[in-house]
């Protein structure tokens, strides 16, 4: 059972209380953008085996969206953070660097 702490209301929530919202920090491309950008925004995903950044919603709790940093290979949770940011905050990055030395950081946005 995956347990995430909702950064909005502070509750430690089981996955049954949460709704997964897919890959985080996607940059949106709309009308007028190139086909490559539009395709990649709509369909292509990192889908990593390891460190992953996701959107989650505290669906059966306070109802708010938030972000989570997780490892998809071990289900370790590095932390959760506000939905109002376009990349993971320094504190989360430090935790990941400490737990996964040598992990290759990708570009956000």
């Amino acid at each position: 059972m995956l347990i995430l702490q909702c950064p909005c209301c502070g509750v430690m929530a089981d996955e049954t209380e949460l709704a997964a919202g897919g890959e985080a920090h996607l940059k949106r491309f709309g009308p007028g953008s190139s086909d490559d950008d539009f395709e990649s925004y709509l369909f292509n995903r990192v889908n990593p085996k390891g460190v992953h950044f996701e959107r989650w919603r505290h669906a059966y709790g306070c109802g708010k969206w938030f972000h989570a940093a997780r490892c998809t290979a071990t289900l370790e949770v590095f932390g959760t953070y506000s939905a109002q940011v376009t990349e993971p905050p320094q504190e989360i990055r430090d935790k990941i660097s400490a737990r996964r030395p040598g992990w290759r950081w990708r570009e956000f946005g």
Partner: protein, 414 residues
């Protein structure tokens, strides 16, 4: 290779079974192959087999990081059917189903194909309309299915409760020549036939990098050293994103965990496969007598082959309404496999942005049934650069908006 036959069993019985060969060889990797297939699941092995059998390409290696069929091929619930809605799907799944009919003879290996019939229950008005539509589409595609009423459902499967309180059974889409096969045997049978053609099936050999030169593939790095090749097939199901990353592109695929479970063995009580898509559960009885049960996928990206317990609870809860007699059955084992999900729930059989690299993935929760057909088409694509079976399943269909939408056709798509 010595052929398996009734005569061989009699001969060996008379000499203390001392004459059986190993089913396949375990060679050291060569420096170079004409084609390398990454992933010795059913799809990778079938691809290699038809490369050799149909196209005469036999200098081939199949590289597997774990053991033969240890991925989803050895973890699935073995439902075989071809009652899909869209024409390209019906073509490849029906080709596959028909190859299963005489696969045991073709491979000289008993894959235990059992065309016992598959029924997909309609438990809402929406499903009745949906399955009637599919039955009409199947009639045009030449796939033998029919929509049957609740009395016929009860007759074919007496242990079903057709007037459950929440979801009464209103009818079913029935495919009499659908069924099951023995999953390990499919992998083993293809591996034995590939090895017999001189191909190298190499286990415990993980691909860790893909080497390219000027936009073209030249080889792979593995845990057993670098190996060169002219053509490369990536056939790794849940790990497709990891391999695509090594080759420098991204895919419209997400990896999720799908679980299944089996009960203690009981006497024969059910000789068809039943899928209940609205309540998300399906069941069949194995030859050993275990009830084989599966449900929906877990909701988030996951590479651990475990899964969350509450999904098992949901599946079993749903099935108990339709099959009250299983309520006291003890469950023996539960497991998970990492399935490669695309947005339109259809596979990708395609060339890629890197010349020489071909991709076979996206079978998600329903690719066991497709193993022979996918191998047939994908081998043709790798050998000749074109395959009518695969053409519609190309990677660029997402960009073009040319989806092969099976997700609305079936809620649970095994």
């Amino acid at each position: 290779m010595k052929r398996y036959s009734a005569f061989a069993i009699a001969r060996e019985a008379l000499r203390h079974h001392s004459g059986w060969d190993r089913a396949w060889a375990s060679p050291e990797p060569k420096k170079k192959y004409d084609a390398i297939i990454i992933g010795a699941g059913g799809h990778g092995l079938a691809t290699a087999y038809y490369l050799g059998k149909n196209h005469g390409i036999r200098n081939v290696a199949i590289l597997e990081k774990g053991w033969l069929g240890g991925g989803n091929t050895g973890r699935n619930t073995t439902i075989i059917r071809s009652n899909y809605l869209q024409d390209p799907s019906a073509a490849i799944y029906e080709k596959s189903r028909s190859l299963y009919e005489d696969l045991s003879q073709d491979l000289n290996y008993n894959v235990m194909f059992s065309p016992r019939g598959v029924m997909m229950l309609a438990q809402t008005q929406h499903e009745i309309r949906g399955y009637k539509r599919t039955a009409h589409a199947n009639a045009l595609q030449g796939v033998a299915t029919e929509f049957i009423g609740p009395e016929k459902v009860k007759e074919l499967c007496p242990i079903i409760n057709i007037d459950g309180p929440r979801y009464p059974v209103l009818g079913a889409l029935w495919q009499p020549r659908g069924g099951t096969a023995r999953h390990d045997a499919v992998a083993w049978g293809y591996a034995r036939a590939c090895s017999d053609m001189g191909m190298h099936v190499i286990q415990k050999c993980e691909v860790t990098g893909i080497r390219r030169d000027g936009g073209k593939v030249v080889g792979v790095d593995t845990t057993r050293g670098a190996i060169d090749c002219d053509k490369l097939g990536i056939v790794v199901a849940g790990h497709s994103g990891v391999l695509a990353d090594m080759a420098g592109f991204r895919l419209p695929v997400e990896s999720l965990c799908l679980q299944a479970l089996v009960s203690e063995p009981i006497k024969p009580c059910m000789d068809v496969v039943v899928m209940a898509n609205t309540v998300h559960g399906y069941m069949s009885q194995s030859d050993k007598g275990e009830m084989v049960i599966g449900g929906g996928t877990d909701g988030f990206n996951n590479y651990t082959q475990r899964g969350s317990f509450h999904h098992i609870e949901e599946t079993v809860r749903a099935l108990i309404e339709t099959f009250p007699m299983i309520s006291r059955l003890k469950m023996l084992r539960q497991w998970g496999g990492i399935v490669d999900m695309t947005g339109d729930r259809s596979p990708i059989l395609s060339k890629t942005p890197v010349e020489g690299i071909f991709l076979n993935c996206g079978w998600g929760t329903g690719g066991f049934k497709a193993i022979p057909g996918s191998g047939w088409g994908f081998a043709e694509l790798m050998a000749t650069g074109h395959s009518a079976l695969c053409a519609e399943f190309s990677l660029d269909r997402f960009r073009a908006g040319r989806f092969i939408d099976e997700s609305v056709a079936a809620g649970v798509a095994h």
